[in-house]
């Protein structure tokens, strides 16, 4: 869920014509004092964090002067609220509140429609209020093609006992609230409290807005970095992974870091699931064997080999994991050899030293398992491939056995490497990377295996060297499916002349950081 901070949400409301208290976002005590001076009246300072009940946790202070504001800001910036540090504070004019209301919008899956809720009692403890006084909470389904009209808002609000001018004011605000919610693809939105000030104006005193992950692309103005269900800001590795997801829509890719740092002494796995249901079942199986998971990663929905490759590279950027476990439903519709090739390229490059259990049951599983067993038999870590007849429980047991046999060796993160580019290289762009062929080497090649390997038939021989048989443009647009077959064939059966460069933005720097830490740790041990 792409959550917005209060100050961001209020900006949207304001653009939509809903009054919000005047205020400014600051990130230092000095700026806070300055903001209070500009406002020139008593202010409230509110920590901008994704946590409920900020007030009790010291996240809200009042200040009557710039000096007080400075002091309050200093205090707020020093604390952690629900484990989160505070980076920004919203400094706002203090509103003289006469009464508090609640307004919220959610999506009801049974009716397949938005529902607007309104309560004449707002503020903290709204859920409690709703339970105790159901008569004071009214709800209405919204017809999305018509929108939520003012008269509908009026009919909703009057059910809670509000009347007169306040009713008219609130109705106007609520109708606008729906417009903003729809415009910004709200997964949920609420104004709590929505207040009536003593001057008779209605203000959204606090606001909470969650943008639908799948619609984030429509709102670049919101500057959302990672559109995901996090109850915390995304980690650095998650941000890197999200770029992969965003830039390649072939299949699903989802990466969630479960442990910020993996303890060397613990039995932790890198986890690569496929599909929500199958992944959950597989997770249950490894947790039952006493493992912890460093991450949750899902590559499914017929992902390209290159996407699975990138997933593996990201998973293997976590130090100290003891094994790599991949498992999905067991009977996947996707062509599993793509996953097998992605994993093969990644493991080979890494010189993987920890064991891997890969349950790739589904279409072409025999071919997938064969790829794994043929090409990965010589890397230091033991790799076992399984299919639909092998249960997740059995595979989890194998994982445990292999890790024990491997003496609980921890994974060491290595620097990202790529072969140097020589002048002889023939290269072309693929949808998300580049294929480089060192044609010098091809002169010694008898089989020309790459041509056969490419089932897309986009390679041909020209003077005994492989070149594109189609236009560069078509190749980049998707005729090359990044199946990785050409590279794998050439690497293992021929001259190791092809390298497919699949960049992952930011991973090189990330790994360097991890490696520095890793070295420090081992120095200390010495």
């Amino acid at each position: 869920m792409a959550r917005l901070f209060e100050y961001q949400s209020k900006k949207l409301l304001k653009q939509g014509g809903i009054p919000v208290p005047e205020g400014k976002v600051v990130s230092s005590p000095e700026q806070a004092a300055e903001a209070a001076r500009e406002l020139g009246r008593p202010v409230v300072l509110k920590a901008q964090v994704w946590a409920t009940g900020r007030a009790e946790k010291g996240g809200i202070h009042f200040a009557d002067s710039p000096e007080e504001a400075r002091k309050a800001a200093r205090e707020i910036l020093a604390i952690r609220i629900s484990g989160l540090s505070v980076e920004k504070i919203l400094v706002e004019e203090k509103i003289d509140i006469q009464s508090e209301y609640f307004a919220g919008l959610v999506i009801d899956d049974a009716e397949k429609s938005p529902v607007m809720l309104f309560s004449s009692k707002g503020g903290t403890g709204i859920e409690e209020i709703a339970r105790k006084h159901p008569d004071q909470v009214a709800r209405a389904y919204v017809n999305v093609s018509k929108g939520f009209r003012e008269y509908e808002a009026r009919d909703l609000i009057r059910q809670t006992g509000v009347f007169g001018k306040t009713l008219t004011w609130l109705s106007r605000v609520l109708a606008k609230f729906f417009q903003v919610s729809q415009k910004y693809d709200a997964r949920s939105a609420e104004m709590n409290p929505l207040v009536l000030a003593s001057d008779g104006t209605v203000y959204a005193a606090d606001c909470h807005f969650v943008v639908d992950d799948y619609a984030v692309f429509r709102h670049p103005d919101l500057g959302i970095e990672v559109a995901r269900e996090f109850d915390r800001p995304p980690t650095e590795l998650e941000k890197i992974a999200y770029q992969v997801e965003k830039n390649d829509h072939r299949g699903t890719f989802y990466f969630f870091q479960m442990l910020d740092e993996v303890d060397e002494k613990e039995n932790v796995l890198g986890f690569n699931g496929a599909g929500g249901g199958g992944s959950m079942m597989s997770m249950d199986a490894v947790l039952d064997q006493g493992f912890k998971l460093a991450n949750y990663c899902d590559t499914s929905g017929n992902p390209s080999a290159s996407k699975v490759y990138r997933a593996a590279k990201i998973i293997l950027s976590q130090p100290h994991i003891k094994g790599y476990f991949a498992s999905g439903s067991g009977v996947a519709s996707q062509e599993q050899f793509h996953s097998a090739r992605g994993l093969t390229k990644a493991f080979k490059e890494e010189g993987l030293e920890i064991p891997a259990v890969l349950r790739l049951g589904g279409n072409f599983e025999e071919k997938a398992i064969e790829i794994l067993h043929t090409y990965l038999k010589d890397i230091p870590g033991k790799v076992e491939g399984y299919g639909r007849e092998d249960s997740p429980e059995f595979c989890a047991e194998r994982m445990k056995k292999l890790i024990t046999d491997n003496d609980f060796l921890s994974h060491k993160v290595r620097p990202l490497q790529e072969p140097e580019i020589t002048e002889e290289v023939y290269s072309f762009q693929t949808p998300t990377g580049e294929i480089r062929i060192n044609q010098e080497k091809c002169l010694n090649c008898s089989t020309k295996a790459c041509i056969e390997a490419c089932t897309q038939n986009i390679l041909k021989l020209e003077q005994q060297k492989p070149v594109l048989a189609i236009s560069r443009e078509d190749t980049e647009k998707g005729k090359c499916t990044e199946c990785l077959a050409c590279e794998i064939f050439c690497t293992f059966h021929e001259q190791d002349a092809i390298f497919i460069h699949l960049p992952i933005k930011g991973l090189k720097e990330y790994r360097e950081k991890v490696i520095r830490k890793q070295e420090k740790c081992s120095d200390r041990r010495k």
Partner: protein, 303 residues
């Protein structure tokens, strides 16, 4: 009989010239689905595996006659447009394959399909298959596997997980239990046909004797199934597995969400309500074929 699709359904593919569209057209045709026409704007006049491509759904209908079903393979952000176009042209069932369709788009599709009395499956669905008759979407992956994994019979399967849809059906087949129709209702929070709606169709289908559902935490689908069974609107036996026991209970979006949903959505709530209603809830996926076989046998004895 089976539900929603059979060997006579005339099927349209939207986005037929794309990567997935092409590959899955082949799967559907090879399996025996009557793929009658395809649409990709700007590519009218071409053909894909012998299926003629048109510029619009309306044009496809003009040339090929009425089309029953459309399977949509366009990019996520174009799904709304494609679904509305299909329904507007008289298609009665749209199957929306793509993942990551914005939820407000789904709400609009839902509104329009209700108004036009059409139905849709998905988004984020692998599709559905009536074994031995026709397949829609990408379930099975290729015709050979689909034939091997799914067999005709009397069990209706409805699942919220794509992979588990195939897995459950495969294990049923292996146990000698065939299926009437297998449907992946889609993984998103709001989907077209959800478990309760699918089960009501199975209830009316003479071929279906028993239903299996794979549920998950979140949404109110399983609770609504429990309601239907309690009210006697579903009388055929139902076997259920609910995934996500280890996971945290469904994500809460807000206070408003909590007010609307109450305790609904959690693993515990779903299992409890289903059991109370008389649904056979099993603890492991592997127990499904056993339970289903046993229930069918009992049913057979009674008759």
């Amino acid at each position: 009989m089976s539900i929603l699709v059979n060997e006579q359904s005339k099927v349209l593919i939207q986005g037929i010239t794309g990567r997935e569209g092409m590959v899955r057209t082949r799967l559907m045709k090879d399996y025996g689905t009557q793929v009658t026409a395809g649409v990709t704007p700007g590519k009218g006049g071409q053909d894909v595996y012998g299926v003629p491509v048109y510029d619009s759904v309306k044009q496809a209908v003009e040339e090929c006659g009425e089309l029953d079903i459309s399977v949509v393979f366009v990019p996520a952000f174009l799904v709304k447009e494609a679904a509305l176009e299909a329904i507007d042209a008289g298609v009665r069932l749209a199957v929306l394959i793509p993942d990551r369709v914005p939820i407000h788009d789904v709400l609009e599709i839902s509104r329009f399909s209700k108004q036009e009395q059409a139905r849709f499956v998905g988004p984020n669905t692998l599709g559905l298959v009536s074994p031995g008759k026709a397949v829609l979407g990408m379930i099975g992956g290729r015709a050979k596997s689909a034939r091997e994994w799914f067999s005709p019979g009397s069990i209706g399967v409805s699942s919220r997980s794509g992979g588990m849809t195939s897995a459950i059906s495969y294990y049923l087949t292996k146990a000698g239990l065939g299926q009437s129709t297998i449907i992946h209702v889609g993984g998103d929070a709001v989907v077209g046909l959800s478990h309760p709606e699918v089960l009501q169709l199975f209830e009316e289908d003479p071929q279906t004797q028993l239903m299996v559902i794979f549920g998950e935490i979140g949404t109110s689908q399983e609770e609504r199934v429990a309601d239907l069974v309690s009210e006697g609107r579903i009388q055929k036996p139902v076997v259920a597995y609910i995934g996500g026991k280890a996971a945290k209970s469904g994500t809460r979006f807000s206070h408003a969400g909590a007010i609307v949903e109450g305790s609904r959505g959690s693993h515990e709530s779903k299992v409890r309500l289903l059991k109370q209603a008389g649904v056979h809830v099993v603890d492991a996926v592997a127990d499904i074929p056993k339970k289903a076989g046993q229930l069918l046998k009992e049913k057979g004895n009674k008759q």
